[in-house]
Subunit: 386 residues, 2 copies
């Protein structure tokens, strides 16, 4: 920071994190997982900032999920260990994963097919691991959540677990399921149904492979909705792995994962134009899709958030109805209301709670971190790329 001290002094658009809320969100999830008797393996994908990962792990720097190898490399360089790449491993990423497996005490990958289980089991010649290291492998399971994973009740899924557990080149770590369908739920009761179903299927599969003589130390599910509003069934698990909770957003608020007050991220923008003579009288703000992303509008990832692109804090009378690259179009929330331009002079600062914080964070090269008084106390730099 040079001259800027307060949020109001920042050049717009920009992204501001509320340090207090980030910390509270991190601590609440650590406490909740402890209360439910499970380990927390938080996901790094939302902020991709080392500072947030330290808070998420309660300072231990152990046990996280990442969405890219660039994230894993960053965490490793900052003293983290026990990292799981939370995307199915493929052949062309083996070399980089082999390097991370050698560097770290425990770098884990995830497979979800017989083909990759065979490939990794027989990879010693092509991707030799030094120092007697083995591949640490989780089996990804689809508990009818619909994206990735071997199907929980297919016989062939048991065969994949058997291949991994028998391989002298592999430490079979356990099972991992992502209940991404919890994002599509209308409220806490529906979220509990998804969590219960996913847990039941996963535990049943775990029992099946144990009955086949395969040791399964770890079996976890995760998503911010289910872990923010856990149900009793989730006590049966050994691990949770939510990610978005570190910041939350309007989508999470709308489905019941958090309150507005928990949302730790906002995009700061200013009014740069008044157009009373336009066919549709409107204001323009300097927040386009490069600052907020186009997520939201009720159709992000097939879900119905109802929050549009985000919520303009303190101005329920306004809505953001469209964005081009550097322009956002703001009109009255009530289609029959007229816009009183005098209430929003040029250069008025507005704050937007994004619909999807993971997507909004991906648009910013730097995050400004503010204290409770709006003082900028830090800048965090997320890692990009793959």
């Amino acid at each position: 920071m040079t001259e800027c001290t307060f949020i109001n002094d920042l050049q717009t658009p920009c992204l501001v994190l509320d340090h207090n809320k980030v910390q509270k969100n991190a601590e609440r999830m650590l406490a909740m997982s402890k209360q439910y008797g499970v380990d927390l393996r938080p996901h790094f994908k939302t902020t991709k900032c080392v500072e947030a990962a330290i808070l998420q792990t309660g300072g231990s720097k152990r046990g996280m999920v990442v969405s890219t190898l660039a994230e894993a490399q960053l965490l490793y360089q900052n003293g983290f260990d026990d990292i799981l790449l939370g995307v199915p491993l493929s052949m062309s990423k083996m070399k980089r994963c082999a390097d991370l497996t050698e560097y770290m005490e425990r770098f884990c990958v995830m497979v979800d097919s017989q083909e990759m289980a065979d490939f990794i089991s027989n990879s010693r010649k092509k991707f030799p691991l030094k120092n007697g290291k083995k591949w640490n492998v989780f089996l990804k399971v689809d508990c009818e959540n619909g994206r990735c994973g071997v199907f929980h009740n297919s016989d062939s899924s048991l065969d994949v677990a058997r291949t991994l557990s028998k391989s002298s080149n592999v430490n079979f770590c356990g099972l991992y399921a992502h209940c991404g369908d919890s994002y599509h739920q209308p409220g806490v009761e529906a979220i509990h149904k998804v969590a219960t179903k996913t847990t039941q299927y996963l535990v049943a599969f775990k029992n099946k492979i144990e009955a086949a003589g395969i040791e399964c130390k770890t079996y976890g599910i995760g998503s911010t909705p289910t872990c923010s509003q856990p149900c009793d069934a989730m006590r049966q698990l050994t691990e949770w792995h939510p990610g978005n909770y570190i910041l939350y957003d309007q989508m999470q608020k709308n489905i019941g994962s958090c309150s507005s007050d928990d949302i730790a991220v906002q995009v700061i923008t200013r009014v740069i134009g008044h157009y009373p003579d336009s066919k549709t009288p409107h204001m323009i703000i300097d927040c386009g899709f490069t600052a907020l992303s186009l997520h939201g509008k009720g159709d992000c990832c097939g879900m119905t958030s109802g929050s549009g692109y985000g919520c303009i804090v303190g101005h329920p009378e306004l809505k953001l109805v469209g964005m081009s690259q550097e322009h956002g179009v703001v009109v009255p929330s009530n289609d029959n209301a007229s816009l009183d331009f005098n209430c929003y002079p040029l250069d008025t600062l507005l704050r937007i709670l994004p619909d999807h914080s993971c997507a909004t964070c991906a648009m910013h090269p730097v995050f400004y971190v503010a204290d409770e008084e709006g003082r900028i106390i830090d800048q965090w730099t997320p890692i990009r790329g793959w």
Copy 2:
């Protein structure tokens, strides 16, 4: 580049530009504007890479539009001049714009209200310009295109031009209109209608202010659809300012601005999962919204592109129907067809022509530049932030 030499060797996902096509797109637009007797002031917003700007200006490094001050600063640092900030100026950006006005021979800003015209005219005390410099100001005009600008046929718009032309603190540069509504058109005929209407309104307004004794040297319109398929009316202008044409994309192809073969950008991705047992059998590719953006799906900026999120090159039988952060879901284009997984083994490389190249470029920290044989010959680094 270290070991990677060809597109097929790149880690995925990543963005690849076809150098030949970028160059051809740049040259074609330079030739077209010359043929129509107008100056080309290309927009920098799509790539934000110096290398592209050099091609866009035919090596002159003079006369561009930018969408952020960060872009202007980058171009200035690389020897460019005559740069126009193509977003309405607001008070809190005056200091940085004053600096650029002093540094460059000609840095131009844009205003579209009486309030900002007054503010900039009377800004000498608060934002003094050294070396006898004046603010170079374009008046942004809304020719019923619906986003920004003073309304073309309001009497008050003439007053704004008068204020700017009379100010001893301002060089009044001329008029600027953006026919963004050309993006919503179904084909060339409809694009011509928008271009003709916008030109007529702008020229009429120019005649009106000249009749009032105000000199107006420059008056231009621009958008990739109108400048790629120009109509005779556009010969009346002095300047065009398209941007997306440097890469084009599926949206532009669908509205008739270009052919598929002109699209100079693609996202490279690989198949990382087969899910034949899933409720909806599908493949997963390692291209999520962080690599492609969620633009498209027929609803980007209110337009109907019909291309979904993008086009999988050489595979009309496949479509990308959803993305989360690092996963893309691919199913048969024909809802009644079944997916033959054997045709797409794990690690198969796929190439996606994005729906909206400006949005896709904003997601990547580096662009790989390939020659006609797919050899990686360069890496370009776009500027981010504001």
